[in-house]
């Protein structure tokens, strides 16, 4: 893909999302759009760490930390909306850097398990701390009145900015180092790259985004509880990545939009929506190992090949 096409694609997709966020008036549709944007950001954060070959199941814990930080800063300390969210992101980034510095000596399944355990521990911790509402969670995390009509625009805009940042980092030398760490860490080390430091920075950056996503979630929902941030949050993010297509930057975004749409539709069918949802994930992973985008790419290649054949036959 050449650069101009990529830029055009960004402008069209980003512009369309922003326009939608302004045009949609229906309360339910607006909440779905918010959910899609936040899910896309979480899935992109998860995929970013996957670039260096690790599955960051602590994503759930750090999204929760962002949400609880934003909630506490706003309702208890009375900080303004934007400031509370930004500070929530920074707190999450700092804690995740510490988490990464300690745990990134482990790799693969070990790192995944640590993240899983950390998420569950944090979930239990929230339910034991009365200052953040214990098991019933925090309520009344309201954005300012003036933002009432603009909330989806703010959410989609913030998510877009972070997605662009992720994209630019992935295409930079930093991204090359993450690829190298995933496939051949020794090579990166042998030319003097301090891979451990890069891993810690990568996880901290990814969790900064997760913290912001958590903060946005808190203000969008106005209510948060420990159960929102169990390991399932990370499992869903992984489903978005895999279904959209892990190899593509747009993969987690496409996956999030599709699956959130499907789950909202399934919700309307009654109590068994998870059955349909789970079934869709299993079928998609079995039939499209490279995700929706991978399959589309394959179809386009096939079409191009058969076109060549036709023109060859004509000549």
């Amino acid at each position: 893909m050449d650069k101009r096409f990529t830029l055009g694609l960004w402008l069209v997709l980003g512009g369309a999302a922003l326009l939608l966020s302004l045009l949609i008036q229906d309360f339910y549709l607006r909440s779905i759009l918010n959910l899609m944007a936040i899910s896309a950001l979480l899935a992109t954060s998860l995929r970013f760490v996957m670039l260096m070959g690790e599955l960051n199941f602590a994503l759930a814990a750090f999204t929760g930390l962002g949400a609880y930080s934003a909630g506490y800063l706003s309702t208890v300390l009375g900080l303004p909306f934007g400031f509370a969210i930004l500070l929530a992101g920074l707190i999450t980034a700092a804690v995740s850097a510490l988490f990464g510095a300690i745990t990134l000596r482990a790799k693969g399944p070990y790192f995944l398990l640590i993240g899983f355990a950390f998420s569950e521990a944090m979930r239990v911790a929230y339910s034991k701390i009365d200052a953040v509402g214990g098991t019933s969670g925090m309520v009344g995390i309201y954005p300012p009145r003036a933002f009432d009509d603009w909330l989806p625009f703010v959410v989609v805009g913030t998510v877009l900015l972070l997605l662009i940042a992720f994209y630019l980092v992935e295409k930079s030398d930093f991204g090359r180092i993450l690829f190298a760490i995933r496939e051949n860490e020794d090579v990166a080390r042998s030319v003097g790259i301090r891979t451990y430091l890069y891993k810690v920075i990568a996880i901290s950056g990814a969790c900064f985004a997760a913290g912001l996503a958590g903060g946005l979630h808190a203000f969008v929902n106005q209510v948060i509880s420990p159960g929102d941030f169990g390991y399932l949050l990370a499992a869903f993010a992984l489903a978005y990545v895999k279904i959209g297509g892990e190899d593509f930057f747009l993969g987690p975004i496409v996956g999030a939009v599709l699956l959130v749409a499907l789950s909202s539709y399934a919700l309307g069918l009654g109590g068994d929506e998870h059955f349909l949802y789970g079934g869709a994930i299993i079928i998609a992973v079995l039939l499209m190992p490279k995700g929706v985008l991978g399959m589309l790419g394959k179809l386009r290649l096939k079409a191009a090949v058969s076109n060549d054949k036709v023109s060859a036959d004509v000549h």
Partner: protein, 245 residues
């Protein structure tokens, strides 16, 4: 202060034990600036261990490595590469899913200033004859070219000493000739030293200035290719291992 008249690399009485096995025993060697130095020996002679000890991928049980006048801390890869000692690996030291250009750029990321990186990639690609295929995925290339990409990554790091771990293994004769030509070209154009661990005797004899022979983890002989070829102990060690296999 380090000057060019001193040895670039000095290994002093280095040893490494794995449980009951002494893989490398009290080894000394000196490598001069600008020379191509061969480290050879039959299978299990301790070449790879020596290589790992020098490049910091393993720490020695005894002895020290002095590079460009400074003692390297054992087992610290970062310190060795920061000082300018850069190595390749026997099996695929490149990133399959990145383009050749991005692979070479990877080599520049720690030791070359950001503004100089693009030039360094171009320069390195030219020395290795990879200019035409900078956009190809490294994983899709034939074996010989992949080996050149591995070497290119190390050369792009602007090493003072390029350490190559069996760069000719599994290559056909044409590919071997290409790699040797490239290494000779590198030495001619950059004037930098190479430490070569290699099995292919013909190639080693052809390209090396000096050779060091290991056997059972110990020093066996040292000298020019001509001296080594006629050294009785070396011939015996190699014939012995040939009979055994």
């Amino acid at each position: 202060m380090y000057t060019d008249t001193q040895p670039l690399l000095r290994v002093e009485g280095i040893s490494r034990r794995f449980g009951g096995l002494m893989a490398v025993k009290n080894l000394n060697l000196e490598l001069r600036p600008g020379e191509i130095f061969g480290l050879i020996g039959p299978n299990g002679a301790g070449k790879s261990t020596t290589f790992n000890l020098i490049s910091g991928f393993m720490s020695p049980t005894a002895g020290k490595v002095i590079f460009a006048g400074e003692k390297l801390p054992g087992g610290k890869v970062g310190e060795a590469s920061k000082a300018g000692l850069v190595r390749t690996f026997q099996h695929g030291s490149y990133v399959r899913s990145m383009s050749v250009g991005d692979n070479i750029r990877l080599g520049t990321l720690a030791r070359v200033a950001p503004a100089r990186r693009a030039d360094k990639v171009r320069e390195t690609a030219a020395v290795l004859g990879l200019t035409e295929i900078l956009d190809e995925l490294a994983g899709n290339l034939p074996h010989g070219l992949q080996r050149l990409v591995s070497i290119a990554i190390a050369i792009a790091a602007a090493p003072k000493l390029l350490c190559l771990d069996e760069p000719l293994t599994g290559l056909n004769e044409t590919e071997v000739a290409t790699v040797l030509r490239v290494l000779d070209g590198y030495r001619q154009s950059m004037g930098r030293a190479i430490l070569l661990v290699e099995h292919n005797m013909k190639a080693v004899m052809k390209i090396c200035d000096r050779i060091h022979v290991l056997h059972h983890g110990e020093f066996l002989a040292a000298g020019t290719p001509l001296e080594i070829q006629s050294n009785k102990a070396v011939i015996e060690a190699y014939l012995g291992s040939a009979h055994a296999t």
